[in-house]
Amino acid sequence: MKKKSVKFKHLLFKSFCRADKMLIVLIIASFLCSLLISGIWSINSASKIKRLQDARLLFGEYQVMVSDIDKSLAENILKTEKEVKISSLYTQRILQDEKGFSNIIYAQEDFFNLSQMNLKAGTFPKAQNEILVDDLYAFKKGEDAKELIGSKIDFNEKEYIVTGVINNTDFNIAYINTHTFVLNYAANVGSLDNKENISFFLSINSADISNFINKLSNSYKIDSNFISYNNSAYDYAGINTKGQPNGIEGIFYRVIVIVLGFLSIFLIYTLCILFIKKLKPTTSICVALGIDFKKIYKSYVTFIMFFIFLSFILSLIISTLLSALLFNLNYAQVITQNVFSIIIIAVVFSIVGLLLILNIMTNKINKVEQNLKNPVGIKNNRVKSAINKRYKSLYLSLSKQNIAVEKGRAALYTLIIVISSVLFSVSIYSVQIFRDSSQKVQGFDYLLEFKFNNVAEMLDGLKEHEELYKNIKNDIGTNKYSLFFEEKRAGLNKSNITKEHRNYLEKLSTEMSASLNNPNTDIVNIPVVFMSLDNNTIKRISEKAEGINISQNECVVVKNTIDAMGSSFEIGLNAGDQILITIPLDESEIEEIEIDDTQIAGEGFVQPKLPETTKTQSLKVVDTIDYLDINLQQIKNLPLVIVSKDIFDKICTNNKYPSMILFDNDTENPDYLEKYFSGKSGIQLINLVEENKVSEEYFDKIDFSLMAIMFILIIFLTLIMSITIVLRYDESKAQYAVMRAIGIRSSNVMKIFIYEALYLSIISALITVPLSILGTYIIYKSFISQSVFFIYKIPVFLIAMPIVCFIIVSIISYLPVILKMQKQSIAEVIKNE
């Protein structure tokens, strides 16, 4: 008969599997942890892939712009190159007459798919005599965009029918009084000279953009200076070319997954230890039979890691399948995008394994140490001190005694609690910082935009409407107008500019809206928005409840600039700094020069030195405001400088769009204001609540996700604390059973336990708070390094918040132990321990 060989490991494995239901708990916990990590990441990645797929349909892989080539070459490229998916030919002419500049674009119908311009109303022109005009042109005509459609206009000595209106484009910023007109390329191609330079957009569905660019340069001999490309599809999808999420969302998901990873390590590790403790009887018997302790322990670690690994793999498969199904994607695509979560899970797996192996070693060390302990060295005679205090603090003393004698274990539990609660507190702080920043851009009342050509006209308008404003004030009560703004460049002049400050400004210069024109001097140029605010307004939209008085040579700087997506950056100006601003000279101040007209067209004409039309004025920063409690898309996320009314009027001599804020908190009846202003010429009423709707939806979404994640973190923390406390109880349950056997009431025994846990919790909380603030600062700094800025401010009440949560979590965590203690039979515990 053939003997079937049975290995010791197989027997141990059988015993391991049957040992305790803790194994099931461990497997479920490992599975849930990795499912959470891979699930969050998979859904995030899959949604990005989906967005990328959609974006590719719209933009292709890359959007290439080739400018200033002749028409035949452009058409030849379009015919030959198969990678070109969407293309758009256009050419541009600039005409000048006494009214100003006209920018004429001969474009194909797909032009708006690739251009920054939008068709606001109407349709793309089809015939030769059809034209699109811009909204500024419509405004100057005094007509609503829609009313202009179908009307005839005289332009460039021809008569055209307006088929639609486009939004005011970047071209209008470059030229004063410039308007953009769009004609149909195909209908007008005959009138274009073959040699006329043409620009065209190409959407390239090429995996290798550099090859295509080389081809354009080498095969078609196009100067590389006239070729530019961008990856609009990736930008649109919010991912980089490697498929990883970009910007704040990417950082957000990464941070969450890493935090969950850390928490998973503690959760799984503590469960493992708990489980190994449950295997103690089997281990003892095996050791008694002469089997090496290390061999048994190593086998346990192998078995545990095997089950954890299985649960990890299972969760990865499930998250991949689910996200692929949810977004209708190819499985392979989702797997490749899941690399980050796989790395995190692998790290969790490795660290848990490493900790377990370390545990084998420390177990041995502990025993040796224990034998070497000097009894005389232990001086903690807590009971004696308890006697002196007339027994009042007996149970507290006993708990302290437990901690004092078992320092190593107490330190381990404190460490586990500290790390998990630091992660938790950092998350609360970070979430609050994000929410605090994002709240500043929530919808805010109404904006009145005056369609005047300059400040003088606007001021006249204000006078004309003086009666109207009085009425507004009387009728609506809380309304107030007082904010004007205009973007201007200012020179920041600091005599003692530090290296760090220069680096910071250089960073702003390259990554944010600001520009550092000359980093080698002490003067830098940053585009800022100048505002003039009355005191009432300052009180309402800043922290300066007392308002500020600004004289002519002074200004107040709003330190933080918050963009529509909630991130912010600091301008880096402080009270005492100087700002150099450029203001136009009065006509009387401009020096007149004489030019000899007869020489202008002739040879040897030398351009005379033109007179200065502006002068520089220095403004002292007298005060700073952290941030304004308002966000306007119109000011393009630029730093804000508040100046006096006089200076503002001078700066904004050519202001075309002066605006003011109309505060109205009466959200019950928003239509009232719109009716109030309808038909008032020169005034456009913008509902800022509507305007900021996209931001608000974005914040709602992020807010919901943050809250959900906070909830998950709280569950994690509760689980970890619960397990830690159960673990602590399990270690000491025999001791507690004996206490109960000799007659100490269970409520008093519980006291010892609770005092001990509270003692450790207080120590943990004291360590946690500074560590959490530091941790949050590190995260904040890492956000800054990714060009995502928040206002770093942790209010005092917020510091208490995680501690309160921590106490609640602690109370909940005691429940399993209380229940266990109530149920446990003293006789059983004493018999088994």
Binding site: I378, V383, I387, Q735, V738, A741, I742, R745
Partner: protein, 218 residues
């Protein structure tokens, strides 16, 4: 006096019900030294646990003095154990984080009683542990640990001492030392001693031997 009347006790192992006692009766007088013996699994320790209130019976009455223990609340049984009973376990079960001195004093402090220093000194000297007061349990031998456990059991001057195989883990010399010390202390205090063991060689120390199998059969 402790009187067990019609005690029933059974355990469930899976679906199987194992009866330990059925209508079991036992009476132990004050100051009596009773040895409970019987083979393994006969229910000696269970009986001791039921009498000492750390386990419960399914039905029946346990009368201590004029109190029916089986009807008492958990709080009352705790107080009873603290003030009237003393415990000695086979595995000593000292509190590992307390030194010898603190272990001995624990019940008296928990009961909130005044400490009788003369009595404690006498107790410690009789048990030969006066040199070990600052030591922790893991630094003591088995015999020493058991003597500390006896001191802890006796410190509150209990009416009854319950001892569950107190010499089970000790060698002959230590067993003798422990037993003599225990009997001496009980006799000097007039304390009832109820001890469980299967070592019948110890029966000479006791007034009565209760064989659990025979009693059950009876």
């Amino acid at each position: 006096m402790i009187n067990l009347i019609n005690i029933d006790k059974s355990y469930k192992v899976g679906n199987e019900k194992i009866t330990i006692f059925s209508q079991y009766n036992l009476m132990i007088k004050d100051g009596e030294k009773v040895l409970i013996s019987g083979p393994s699994g006969s229910g000696k320790s269970t009986l001791l646990n039921i009498m000492s209130t750390i386990d419960t019976c399914d039905s029946g009455d346990i009368i201590f003095g004029d109190i029916n223990i089986s009807k008492c609340s958990k709080k009352m049984t705790s107080d009873l154990r603290l003030n009237n009973f003393g415990f000695i376990f086979q595995s000593y079960h000292l509190i590992k984080t307390l030194n010898v001195h603190d272990n001995i004093l624990l019940p008296i402090i928990a009961a909130g009683k005044e400490i009788d220093n003369n009595y404690i000194d006498e107790l410690i000297n009789k048990l030969g542990i006066s040199e070990r007061l600052n030591h922790f349990p893991y630094q003591l031998s088995g015999g020493e640990q058991q003597r500390v456990a006896i001191a802890r059991a006796m410190v509150n001057k209990p009416n009854i001492i319950f001892a569950d195989e107190p010499t089970g883990n000790l060698d002959r010399n230590n067993s003798k030392y422990v037993m003599e010390a225990l009997i001496d202390l009980c006799e000097s205090q007039g304390t009832t001693l109820i001890m469980v063991t299967h070592d019948l060689s110890l029966s000479s120390y006791f007034d009565r031997v209760v064989s659990i199998d025979k009693e059950k059969e009876a």
